[in-house]
């Protein structure tokens, strides 16, 4: 089963997504299915704020049996780390994956404040290319597992007053969400920690 979980900043989407994948995993354990539980992390960690975010999510996941795969780009490569066809994966999150695919800094430099360096080496991949690459990668990944919960971000409900590059990013993530929702069995929006079923609804009560 594939479940797409969407929500805004601080909506409680991560916690809900974890709950769902863990219940799928526990269910398969009860059926004596041999499998593993994976967390596929797509966030590039910048600075203290990023580190704090990672810590917060790690604490949420602690003791739940997740194996972590760090996959900032080329999400299909995480297939190599999986163990069984019956594995359960949580992919978090699409907004980071799409940003990492779209915007690359050729010289790996951790100091985000060094803007001069950033500008010189900043590369943007076209919207169409990113959509094609990410959807292909996700399809490959999803076809390799039994259960998947994908976390994505609702970034679509403010002004349209953005520069061309940001607008292309919004559009790319929107198209990818649309595609993922189509191939998902369930789509759930999380609002103030409460799941609201958009598609399906057998599992996510």
């Amino acid at each position: 089963m594939i479940v797409l979980v969407i929500g805004g900043s601080g909506s409680g989407k991560s916690e809900y997504a974890e709950k769902i994948i863990c219940s799928m995993y526990e269910y398969s354990k009860r059926k004596d299915i041999q499998n593993s539980l994976f967390y596929i992390a797509t966030m590039k960690v910048y600075g203290e704020e990023g580190q704090a975010k990672v810590e917060r999510h790690r604490n949420l996941r602690r003791g739940k049996g997740f194996e972590t795969i760090e996959q900032e780009t080329n999400v299909e490569n995480s297939v190599a780390h999986l163990h069984y066809k019956s594995d359960c994966i949580l992919v978090e999150c699409m907004s980071n994956l799409v940003a990492n695919e779209m915007f690359t800094v050729s010289d790996e430099c951790d100091d985000i404040n060094d803007s001069s360096e950033q500008d010189n080496n900043f590369r943007v991949i076209s919207e169409d290319e990113v959509v094609a690459k990410v959807t292909r990668g996700m399809e490959k990944l999803l076809s390799s597992v039994q259960n998947a919960v994908i976390v994505t971000n609702n970034i679509f409900e403010d002004t349209q007053d953005y520069d061309e590059v940001t607008a292309a990013y919004i559009s790319a993530l929107g198209r990818i969400n649309f595609h993922l929702a189509k191939i998902s069995d369930e789509v759930v929006e999380v609002v103030a920690g409460i799941p609201v079923v958009i598609k399906g609804g057998t599992l996510c009560q």
Binding site: G10, F156, E157, D158, V191
Partner: protein
């Protein structure tokens, strides 16, 4: 407490007037706690304390709140923090509320 959440100008007030037991004379509606919450955030209060504080004041009321986390993450660090902080505050308020309505296009969906 009844919590009504939705984007800016999503029609929360109209929904409350039309569908919930709105009583202007008794002043049982708190329109937009975001301003109050932002003051609490700026004073350095954590979101649990702020949520308890708001709940203590508004427990018998219909409380309206803007959903602000559904856009592009702002460049400004403080704005970014406030969105996360506000979201977590709303999660606590939703947990404490007897009913939660989510409003889109003036239509309220009872989600709790």
């Amino acid at each position: 407490m009844i919590l009504v959440i939705g984007g800016h100008s999503s029609g929360k007030m109209d929904f409350v007037k039309e569908y919930l037991n709105y009583n202007f004379e008794k002043d049982n509606v708190i329109n937009d706690i975001n301003v109050l919450a932002e003051e609490m955030f700026e004073s350095g209060m954590d979101y649990e304390t702020a949520a308890n504080n708001i709940y203590a004041r508004c427990r018998v009321k219909i409380v309206l709140t803007d959903e602000i986390g559904n856009g592009i993450v702002p460049m400004d660090a403080s704005k970014r923090d406030f969105r996360e902080w506000m979201g977590r505050l709303q999660i606590i308020l939703a947990k404490k509320s007897d009913e939660v309505y989510r409003v889109i296009c003036g239509m309220g969906q009872k989600i709790k």
